[in-house]
């Protein structure tokens, strides 16, 4: 059933990582992901790997969850590896028809693949340890300074909140309409792509109509509750940067420092 799909990837917990301010986690994730691209030696990769393992352990996320986050992207990962192996010029080690694998290619491919894996793992760590609500709050407040140049920070965050709120409702509705049309002989599973797309109309039209109706009613309800955009609005939950957050920034600073040092000294 559609409603069985796990929503978001949040893995509730009370680890140090869970308790960090969402802003700290977002900024750190961006900084750390950028620093991954500093690495170009085996040593640097070992340091990165060690640090990531350390964070996973700290967050107490089961390794199976981490592997699961990689699963949907495995095709991209394998493709990255193959493309680098066969397109990098250098000393040939193996030939399949017109394709030639090079030693440089293998090294380059491995590095790129590892970078990609690190990138995915680190960003999933952010969603594993931060609830969607906290994440939205964090994004809104990080974007706040950009309001001056016309960025609708509050509106974006409100849109995300409402989307999160209605995903389960709409999934349930999809399931219901699908069953209702199947009971009228609709077929959503057979035929070629074109035919299948056409067969989706009896599902999509009611779903859109319902989404618009909900949007309309929700807008009325929000207006009735004195909603007038971000203007003058306060929040019940305020975010606070604590010692924990500074500690996190400190540790991250050291890691980046080490990576820079490794990059300069080793070639």
């Amino acid at each position: 059933m559609l409603t069985d799909i796990m929503l978001g990837q949040y893995f509730p917990g009370n680890s140090l990582l869970h308790l960090l301010d969402p802003r700290t986690k977002i900024i750190s994730t961006i900084l750390f992901i950028s620093s991954i691209f500093l690495a170009n030696t085996y040593q640097a990769y070992i340091i990165l790997a060690a640090f990531i393992v350390f964070i996973i352990a700290l967050a107490a996320i089961p390794p199976t969850m981490i592997l699961r986050s990689l699963k949907p992207l495995w095709i991209i990962i394998v493709l990255t590896l193959l493309i680098h192996i066969f397109t990098t010029p250098g000393s040939i080690i193996y030939k399949i028809g017109p394709l030639a694998a090079t030693q440089e290619g293998v090294r380059q491919g491995l590095f790129m693949t590892i970078r990609l894996v690190f990138l995915i793992v680190v960003s999933s760590l952010l969603t594993f340890t931060t609830s969607p609500i906290a994440l939205t709050d964090g994004i809104e407040r990080l974007l706040n300074p950009f309001k001056k140049i016309g960025l609708p920070a509050h509106e974006l965050a409100m849109m995300m909140t409402i989307a999160l709120r209605f995903i389960p409702t709409l999934l349930e509705e999809t399931d219901k309409i699908m069953k209702a049309q199947m009971a009228r002989g609709a077929d959503f599973t057979s035929g070629n792509i074109l035919r299948r797309a056409r067969n989706m109309i009896p599902l999509l039209v009611p779903l859109f109509i319902s989404a618009f109706r909900r949007a309309d009613e929700l807008a009325t309800a929000m207006e009735a509750r004195c909603y007038r955009g971000g203007h003058q609005r306060t929040r019940m939950k305020e975010l606070h940067i604590t010692k924990r957050d500074w500690l996190a920034y400190g540790v991250l600073g050291i890691i980046i420092g080490v990576l820079v040092a490794v990059r300069i000294t080793l070639r």
Partner: protein, 277 residues
């Protein structure tokens, strides 16, 4: 006691799809006192929901006046004060909950009013307690039953410290248990906090609980009075396409069978005593 809601000669017209003018409200006059519990009944399309939206200034009269606590809904400067003092609960429980957590949703109104965070927190706690939902603070709304969702919506109104609650068919989509939950919550708030209630419904057992009943038909107020006088008019209500309480209809049948039963019976207890004194 002063009047809290005064509707004077109010009309509401709008343009339908085909471009013709529709008169949704036709010269309505209503006065509701502070602390009163008024039920509004009528078939679909009788103008009940349109009327409800006027009480919160979601709609503005085409002609006539709608005064909330003396404030005219036509005047823009009154808008936020009116919306703060009149809280709305709508029919579909799903389409009025904004946030992904119960407590955040209850906080939505006070946040819009610009309250300080500590004050919001206190109000949320209090409001959730008032509707008996304090244990569900951290729940996602999609996991609640219909009755629970409506109670959360009521808490959202309480947290704004509204002194009037307008409910537009709050129980139409609920099961009997959910209906019971919502009605008893509203009745208790009315009794304990003296909240003015305007309750729109199709269910007679809910309307019977009100101080006063207003019956609408085709944009007009056609009957008005205490439940006893309204619900004993069995034929009239049936003509209007409305239900009557079982006891009232039963008494009506007995009178048809030439039994002497008083005209104003609407509850089981009254009927039983009248038949077997």
């Amino acid at each position: 006691m002063g009047e809290f809601i005064t509707v004077k000669d109010m009309c509401h017209t709008y343009l339908a799809h085909e471009g013709e003018e529709v008169q949704a409200l036709d010269h309505i006059n209503i006065a509701i006192k502070k602390g009163e519990f008024v039920a509004i009944i009528g078939t679909n399309g009788s103008g009940k929901s349109t009327l409800a939206k006027h009480l919160n200034a979601l709609l503005i009269p085409s002609s006539g006046q709608c005064l909330i606590n003396g404030m005219d809904t036509k005047e823009q400067k009154n808008l936020w004060e009116i919306r703060q003092s009149v809280g709305m609960v709508f029919q579909n429980p799903d389409n009025q909950i904004v946030a992904t957590l119960v407590e955040e949703d209850v906080a939505f109104g006070p946040e819009n009013l610009g309250m300080p965070p500590d004050e919001i927190r206190n109000r949320v706690t209090e409001a959730l307690k008032d509707v008996g939902m304090e244990d569900y603070r951290q729940h996602g709304p999609h996991l609640l039953s219909g009755g629970q969702k409506q109670r959360v919506a009521i808490a959202g109104v309480l947290a704004m410290r509204s002194n009037c609650l307008v409910l537009d068919e709050p129980t139409a989509m609920l099961d009997p248990q959910g209906r019971q939950e919502v009605l008893s919550t509203v009745l208790r708030l009315h009794r304990e906090q003296n909240i003015t209630v305007v309750y729109i419904t199709h269910f007679m057992e809910e309307a019977v609980a009100a101080d006063r009943v207003i019956v609408m038909e085709q944009g007009k107020v056609v009957m008005e009075g205490v439940p006893k006088t309204i619900f004993s008019q069995v034929n009239r209500l049936k003509e209007l396409g409305l239900d009557v309480p079982v006891a009232a209809e039963f008494a009506y049948c007995l009178r048809q069978l030439t039994m002497k039963i008083p005209e104003d019976i609407i509850t089981d207890a009254e009927l039983v005593v009248a038949v077997c004194p």
